[in-house]
Each structure stands twice: as C-alpha cells, then as structure tokens.
Amino acid sequence: MADKLLDVKNLSVDFKTTDGAFHAVKNVSFSINKGETLALVGESGSGKSVTALSIMQLLPYPLASHPSGSITFEGQELVGKKETFLRTIRGSQIGMIFQEPMTALNPLHTIERQIGEILKLHQKMNEAAVKKRVLELMDLVQLPKLKDRLNAYPHELSGGQRQRVMIAMALANNPELLIADEPTTALDVTVQAEILELLERLQKELNMAMLIITHDLSIVEKFADHVCVMKNGEIVEQNATTALFSAPKQEYTKMLLSSQPRGVAKPAPDISPVVLEAKDIRVHFPRAKNWYGKVTEVVKAVDGLNVTIKQGHTVGVVGESGSGKSTLGFALLRLVNGQGQIKFNGADISAYNRKQMTPLREDMQIVFQDPFGSLSPRMSVAEIIGEGLKVHRANLTPAERDELVVKVLNDVHLNPDTRHRYPHEFSGGQRQRIAIARAMVLEPKFVVLDEPTSALDVSVQSQIVDLLRELQEKHNLAYLFISHDLRVVRAMAHDLIVMKDGVVVESGPASQIFANPKQSYTKILMEAALNLKARAA
C-alpha cells in the first residue's frame, strides 16, 4: 500500500540475561497506515512495550538485540541506524507518551521548558516562537488554565494535567505517528475517559497515525481500527477491530474477551448477624506542625464514616485514588489509629492495644493490592502461609500445620506441591492466590480486600473474583471490598460506599446505586468507568 506509514516485519528482540538469551519478541509483523490507529493488546510480559520501544530504537542496546526483522518508517529502515539519524526521527516524526506521567516528566523543569526543549532541539526555534507554539499546544491539549502558569513544575499539576503535558510534548513537532504506551493506566477512571477523548479528537484533527499499547480491551474497542493480540512475544491474532471483537478466532483472544469480570454479586440472605459495625470513623494525619510540635494542619483521610458488614455480605468501597478507601480498610483492622467506634462481633475494639488485638487478628484478615509487595521474598510459600498459624495455633505440630497449609492451597486452587517454592517463582495471579491463602488459613470471619485485582492482568482478574466469591460462600465470610474498578465491584458487592476526599458521597445497596445513582459524582464515576463498555452491552 502506498500510504503505509510504519511497517514492521518479522521483528524479534532478544535480551541477554543471566540464564541465556530471553526472547522478548518473536517474529512480529504489523503495519500502520497514515491516520490509522493500531492497538497492541496483551497481558503484562507479552512484549507490547518492548515492541513499541524498538520502533523508537530505545531499548538498552547492546543488552537487547534484534536477531531478525526490519522496521521501516516512511520507507526508511530504522533498525541498526546511527543515533544521530534516529534522533531526527524521535520526537519529531514519532512522538511517544508513557504510562506514568509523574516519572516521565523531569521534576526540575517547568512545563514550558519541558515542552520547549523538543521544539528547540528539532526546529531550532527562537524563544518567542517557542513560547507561541507552547501556548498553541496548551490549547490543543485543552489546558487553557495553564497558559498563565507555564512556569509550573510537574508536581504542581494533577495526574490528568501531567498526562496532557506529556501529550503536548509528544505533539510539539506534529509527528506522523504517536505511540501511546498504556496512556491511561496510571490515571483515575474519570480522568481516563477525558484523556482518551482528547487523544481521539487530536488524532482526527491532526490526521496522525497512532499505536496504542494497552491491556484494557474496552479502550481498544472504542479506539482502534486494527488490533494485534500479543502473547509471550508473538502476535496471536490480528484483525480489524470490529471483526476481532465480533468473531475472535483464537482461543486466547476469546479467553481475553470473556475474561472481564462481569455480572453482579449473588444475593446473600438479608437477615444475618452483623460482623463488624463502625461508627463515625475518622483518620487524620498531621500535615504540618508548629514549632512546639502542635499539629496545625491535618489531612482528613477518612472523615466520619459508618460501615456495617454482615456475615456473608460484601461491602464495596469505590472512589478515586486518594479518596481514603485503603485507609478506611486499615482503620477497621486497627492497623492505623483513628477515632470512632468499631464493634467487632459485638465487642468494642476501638480502644484495644496491640496485645489485646492479637487474639482477634485470627478473625480479621487483609489481602493487599500488589501481590509482589505483599509476600516476603525470602520466605517459602509454606512459611508465608504458616506464619499466622504459628502465632494463633501455637499448639500445632509442624506436621499438622503443614496439613492445614496443604488444605488451604487446595482451597485457592494452587498445587500444594509448590509450597516449598519462593514467591518470585509464581505469576501475579498465583501470588495473589497465595496472599488469599495466607488470609484464609486462619478461617477469619472478616476480610478486607484492598484492590485485590488491580495489579493483575485482565484474564486473571475474573479468576480471582470467582475464587473470592467461592470462598465467601463456603465459609460465610464478610468482605470489605476496596476497588476503583466498578466492573469488579459490581461483580462482588452487595452494598456500596462511594467515597471522595475521605467522606461518603453515596451509600446503599449496590444494585440500587448501579441502577440509579443519585449524586452527580457517582454518576460521573459510573459513566466514566462503564460507558466504555456501553458498546459491548
């Protein structure tokens, strides 16, 4: 085709590692026409980002190498070209947006310098022209408010604003191709929708080609003309978006498409004993102190919340990052100190000290978001799971303890023979199962689930949700389910609390709120998170 902008043929990428070469990308071929959007979809570790970085030739050479393949951009070969040549392409003809706008921007440069640098480098503009162009770009990415604040530093901006600045940088030289590497993953749901709209509009206006790398199928469905599904460094399937979504050919693609947590929570009996009841929970952190050590300014992480959790029920807590969801969970478990009354099984535990809490810990457990950080890397799986047993069932013999570990590993559908391995030998989903097993082995009554699926790949998320539901039914557990992902919450929660800035915006039965949100904030949240799915429904 004549208007083929980027053509990648048989591209392979190898990395040198301690155990020989690692084939990150294997014989990948795809092409993008002018003005077209291509999406690379896949789970983490599937080689999406490496493919994108090799287009820019930004991999850590010579640690990385291309055993085969060619990348042609406007008819010019990019693989193996000199740095000086590549620099004329990077930033000027191909722009790139990264996942985390906080670390992708230099914290010591103002946004004007940040954006202006690229203009000066590639177009040799003078100061006045740079300023003019920066202002233009600010309009383009819809940051009119920042036009008076061009000397602001990245930390003074919100996440969404930062990502817009990143986009402005990428667009500064009118590139023909924009590579967006998970452009919205690090952002809150409401902001995600805005950024995606912006990208879509810009692409139409500027007639750019776009390469989107994402694990989120809903973005793909809405945006891309073509989709390449990647798995273990290979493209499993590629097709036009509509064709792929309506008739996926490969098993893996079908699995990806069907793996999104859907559905609603199974109803639980209304009349069941209350496990935990908390009234007027407040957690304030000191932000500033005066010279005498008196607190002058506080951050109200949680400010006056009431929670009631019944046996067999799940209370979902949703909200954007920084809304105090996790702090609420920690406060209920008395892992951070707060004010307010907490009744657990009828006993007021809000004034218990560490020693008094210890026997209760058996009944209240927590599962964390990041399964890589929540398992001690130096302990074997059996040690990790057995640790709680050592504290609370000190009279068990090692053999009895091992028996319980095996049993709980069966419960979370992990092979018990793997219990003597170390966490790093497991995948993210398996690690999360281990973390769940650690909480479940003590047969708790109440479990706080702090974003248990957010750090996992889509295909694994639904499995974990299924597992959690299964365990709840089996042991009649009470859950506090914290998440920013409304789809997952809808699949789990019986009751819902919507939080913003430490206070409750709306609360009530989940089905009611999902069907008929009353507060405007809830509506925005729902729309942002669920409208992307509207086409699928």
Partner: protein, 341 residues
Amino acid sequence: MVLSPLSKRRLAQFKANKRGYYSFWIFLALLAVCLFAEVIANDKPVLVKFENGFYTPFLQSYPETTFGGDFETETDYRDPYVQELIEAKGWIIWPLIRFSYDTISYDLPEPAPSRPTGKNIFGTDDQGRDVAARVIYGFRISVVFGLILTLISSIIGITAGAFQGYYGGKLDLFMQRVIEVWSSLPSLYILIIFSAMFIPGFWTLLAILLLFSQVSLVDVVRAEFLRARNFDYVRAANALGVSNHTIMHRHVLPNAMVATMSMMPFILTGSITALTSLDFLGLGLPPGSPSLGELLSQGKNNLQAPWLGISAFFSLAFMLTLLTFIGEAVRDAFDPRKTTL
C-alpha cells in the same frame, strides 16, 4: 545446606565478579596461613626428635637440660651449641622463617636496620628484628582486629538501627541526635586522649575504636527499617498478629542485611586502616607488638632503609586492595538491578 533461589543468584553474581572472587580466595588463603604464623615464622623449631622422644617447642617450653644442656631455663634453639647437642642425637624441623616477630638478631652483617639477605629476606628493622616475620604477625593482628571490630560494630549498629527505624518517633529522634553529636566529634583526638588515659592493648583499642565505628551502620540499617516497615508484607504480618520482634527479625532484617553485607568489607578496611594509623602515630598497640603501622613509621624514620617502608606499604596495599575487590563483588552480588553476569 539448602540455599534459597535468591541466595543462589547472589552466589552466582559474586562468582561472576572474577576479580572479587579470586581476591576472596587469596585473602582466605593468606588469612589461613597467617593464623598459623607460629609454624611459619618462629625462632623455635616445629618439631624436634631427640633420643627417643618427639618435642614440639613451638607449643611447649622445654628447659635446656632436656637436651643435655646446662641451664634450667627455656632452651634457646638458635644457640649453635644447643643445635649441635640436639642434632647429635636427633634432628630439628625449623619453620620457613627462623625468626619470630620479637627475635632480635645480634649477628647481623651491618648495623640494624640491615638490608635483605638470604637469611632475612625482607631485611631487619631498626632493632634487628626480621621484617618478614613482623609482616606476617602484623597482617594477622590487623585482620583479626579488623574482623572482630567489624563483627561487634555490626551487631551494635544493626540493633540500634533496627530499633530506631522500626519504632521511629521519639526514640528515633533522640538516638539520631546522639549519633549526630557523637559522629561530629573529632575521633582521632578523642582516640589520642583515650590512649593517654588507658594503657593501650588489643582489647582496649578495640573498645575505643568501637565507640566510633558502630555509628557507620546505624544510618543505613535505620533507613532500611524505616522503608520496610511500610511494605505490604510487613503490614500483612501485622494483620496476622505477629509480634514486633518477630517481624523485625523475620521480615525486615533480611532487607537490611543486603545493605549491611555490602558495607561490611568496607568497614573492615576502615578498621584496619584506623589501627594502622594509630600504630603509626605510636598510640596503638603496646611497644614491641608486631604491627604494620609501626613498621611504616620505622620506614619513615629510616629512609636509608627502603625495605622497611616498602614491605609495610606493599603488605598493607595488597591487603586493602583484596578487601576492596571483595567488597565490590559483594556489592554486585546484592545489587538487585544487576541482571547480567
């Protein structure tokens, strides 16, 4: 012993740093040799066969009368008369170097310090003592001193850092100020004052140097504990009801050990250098003890006898270089970002 995969990887990283790995074995070999210095360099034989009995003079003292001599005092095996007596009815196995660190030779070809000869391969110092023997004993005392000092100061440093970092708050604030004040004291002057107050010996010097060297680890360990106490798996352990001490020991300490292990070789070199400099100034080990610092100062005072300075310099430089190479390899081994061998 079963190694966790992490330890295996670290061992592989350590071995991959060839320079450090070989340095490690050379250092171990030297240390092993020096620990048996009495068999290598001594003025008493290792084994004596006399009449029908075997004697081990380097372990036990025998009166001269044992070998048919005249005196009730300990045998002087260097006396040609005694040697003749023994060899008439048996034989003598001598150590490699026939001098101990305090053996004074009176039959030197020139006034002490005398130049290297076949008998004194590195020459003698200004009191007629063999330099080679003194280097071997000096190396041993330096390394042993350094190792003990490193070990004790690590134990104190890690404990102090752990408590400060884990509990934080007022304890941390107070201890940090104490450490800041303490480490801003000019340590050399304090050492000079101390050594004027006490008679310096091996253990007193160790105690005095310990006062200053334990501080170096506190900050590192404290920072690691401060960081790690907010890790999810520490939170999870808290949620399980595990006691504070168990958490510190089982979950947080392994993290801090990474920083500690990579600093230890450098603390060791620091300790050795500190002892050497005190000896050089004449404030260190009691007069007569074999020490590289004292040998250096002799070299400075006797510039006409370069073999003094040169032997001290090379033995010190060699030891410190080995330790630094080992330290680099250890640091590589514990570097989580280092993925290639």
